[in-house]
Amino acid sequence: MVKKYIAFLLILTLLLFMLTGCYDSTGIENFYYIVALGIDKSEKDDNLITLHVQNAKPSSSSESSSAQSNESKIYSVDCRTIESGINILNNYLNKKINLSHCSAIIFSEEIAKEGIKNFINTLGNDTEVRSTCNVMISSKSSYDLLDNVTNSSDSFSSRLYDYILNSVDYTGYTIDSTFNNFSSRLNNEQTQATAIYALVNEDTVQNFGAAVFKEDSMVGTICALETIAHLMVTNHLEGCMIPITNPFDENHVIDVNLRKVKKPDIDVRLENNAPFIKIDLSLQGSINSSGEEFDYTNPDNIKKVEDTCNEYIQELIRTYLGKITKEYRSDIAGFGGMLSSKYLTIDDFNKIHWNEIFENSNYEVHVHTQITSSQLLNKE
């Protein structure tokens, strides 16, 4: 009996190798791995888009590591859809474009303002696109952004976009907009989508706040500081540094490093058919530098810095709320979802027409900052 099983297993093992046909085998040499995909409106025809793909060329130098490269190449094509563009490029490159290492999908601001749901759905339907791939909006064309990244002095690699976008963890000047989150929020009526907004200058690229969407179209941007407010309200703040006016000398600023202590306490309710948003934030901070003589051991000094910090952040959040409610009318913070928890059914919630009344929102913001450290110095 045991012999039978052994023979059976042997046959199976042999079959395993014999059945792996090579007629349709594909290896990495058959694929053209791209690190970023750019989509612009075509300059030639309004009905066309221009698709750019960027890849990292493997370095020929034996000294460089395999994952790094100093070179990259951008190919562009005018097409009607993303898939048709990729097909044209497949034909041109004689290799199949593979999106599994694509770490950024970049739309120009112009095309984002017209709506990008179709593009996102097309890419979402592609098994190669990673859910962690980032969605970015370029202030100029996506080609400009790709080109500037290529020409930057940093060594180019497939991880370059990841490094650029990781700054959200320590600056708070931009947001984390992975493909998965972006596509899911693009269709969500209760929370509108946001994406990283990249400011393209002559030869530099800077992550500058966030692009604000309403439904599937971009309606505006929030600046870097407002993005900090956005991260605070949505409980996504990892850490940030803000310069506040020195309460003892208005000509100087104090750099304060802030972190969240706990989840923000947000209450959304309806008052006279207008949303009333009450936000309570608790933050913890450390003073990095006062820029002049300062005694950190004096409790009164610390109290004054805390109060100044509270006022500064309260004002920042009010500006942010004013922008998203009155100017853009786009609920990117998900206040609608918070209010919906007070209703028993979706039908009841729909009766208040949240998207229409959101612009009438009133708000009250309280910030409690606790300065706990002055880094390495007790006195400056």
């Binding site: 349709d24 599994s100 759905n121 979402g124 098994t127 990673r130 859910s131 962690t132 990841d162 998965n180 989150n181 899911s184 929020r185 269709n187 969500n188 009526e189 209760q190 929370t191 998900g334 979802g337 918070m338 919906s340 928890s341 209703y343 028993l344 059914t345 979706i346 039908d347 009841d348 919630f349």
Partner: protein
């Protein structure tokens, strides 16, 4: 003991039921639940879960007078050979139908994700070979494999839940009563179709080593299955907004694509697919085993092993029928739904009640033993 007459231990029986539930989770059943009741899915799942539990307790009571019997034996007791034949044919058809939609759906998903260039028939043939071999080796092999696979598959589903931890927010489940009370509690009653595992309870008793454990096995397996279903619904509700117009072909697969362990381990979906593939293999093997068993009972065959060739061929033939998205959707979301409800909560339950009444009012009865 011949392998086909193998009797299951408690743990093995629970795993067998769990593999049936897992196969339903892997397909789009949790998404259809959410689609029908929206954010009311949590309340609806609790509601459906309680109904299912009450049903199972009643079923346990009804089976007390028929130890070592399955629904085929009970229907023979109730309505003679005619009813036995009708019920057997219905069950053969249902087992084959559910196996067919499971296999078609999963094979199509595999083809889309990994075997874009290969003809579907190749993918199907690998499944067929697996089902055939497992059933020829015997029920014992199937059960032991299931016991090995189930813990890993459950871990994979739990990992999918952890994957959405960052996105988890109570606001995503509100308003708690969904679209309205009618969709959650009246239309939502149709979501009992997700409790397909109950179909297997009707056949479990004779397969147990000790039928006195039937009650414990059904209750425990039902509770674990419900928890898995509930967790999957929560995970999917967390990442798919209910207003979303897009409908995924497989929501659990999309969920698994989100799983990353730091920056280094990404795209774990490949491992998940492998686990789910083995689970589907196990489930299909059990389905074909059930088809063979019912057919053998119907025709009084002593050994059902050789029936595997014909039942697998029928399944293969069904899967070769032209399949398109619209047909698949109708089969899964409409036909499957009503069929399971009619079968589990309708026909079988009525047979069990009537058989109990017959037992009660027929004088000089002692417990009925079959098997």
């Amino acid at each position: 003991m011949p392998s086909s007459n193998y009797k299951m231990q408690k743990y093995e029986a629970i795993c067998l039921i769990l593999i049936v539930m897992v196969s339903k989770l892997i397909l789009n059943i949790p998404y259809y639940i959410i689609d029908s009741v929206g954010t009311g899915a949590i309340i609806n799942m609790i509601y459906v879960g309680v109904i299912g539990l009450i049903f199972i307790l009643i079923l346990n009571y009804l089976f007390q007078r028929f130890p070592n019997s399955d629904i085929i034996d009970v229907s023979e007791y109730l309505g003679g050979k005619v009813l036995k034949t009708i019920v057997s044919i219905i069950f053969i058809a249902v087992f084959l139908f559910v196996a067919y939609i499971t296999l078609s759906d999963f094979a199509n998903m595999l083809k889309i994700i990994y075997f874009e260039k290969s003809p579907l028939i190749f993918v199907l043939l690998f499944f067929m070979a697996g089902i055939l071999i497992s059933n020829l080796i015997g029920f014992k092999a199937i059960v032991r494999t299931i016991c090995f696979v189930v813990p890993f598959t459950i871990i994979s589903i739990l990992l999918a839940l952890f994957a959405v931890y960052d996105d988890f927010s109570l606001n995503k489940f509100t308003p708690f009563f969904g679209y309205n009370f009618q969709t959650t509690f009246v239309n939502g009653l149709l979501n009992t179709f997700s409790l397909y595992i109950i179909t297997y309870y009707y056949f479990l008793m004779p397969l147990l080593k000790d039928s006195f454990h039937f009650q414990k096995i059904t209750t425990a397996s039902y509770a674990i299955s419900w928890v898995l279903l509930f967790l999957t619904v929560i995970s999917i509700l967390t990442i798919f907004p209910i207003e979303n117009e897009t409908e995924p072909i497989n929501s659990l697969y999309l969920l698994s694509r989100k799983i990353t362990l730091g920056d280094f381990v990404q795209r774990l979906d490949a491992i998940f697919i492998l686990l789910w593939l083995i689970s589907i293999f196990c489930y299909l093997s059990v389905s074909i085993f059930m088809v063979n068993r019912v057919f053998a009972k119907l025709t009084n065959l002593s050994d059902s092993k050789m029936l595997t060739f014909s039942s697998t061929s029928i399944l293969f033939g069904l899967c070769l029928l032209p399949f398109n998205i619209a047909l698949g959707h109708i089969l899964e979301d409409v036909v499957y739904k009503y069929l399971i409800i009619a079968l589990v909560f309708g026909i079988n339950f009525i047979i069990m009640i009537l058989a109990n009444l017959k037992f009660k009012f027929k004088k000089g009865n002692s417990m009925i033993h079959y098997g």
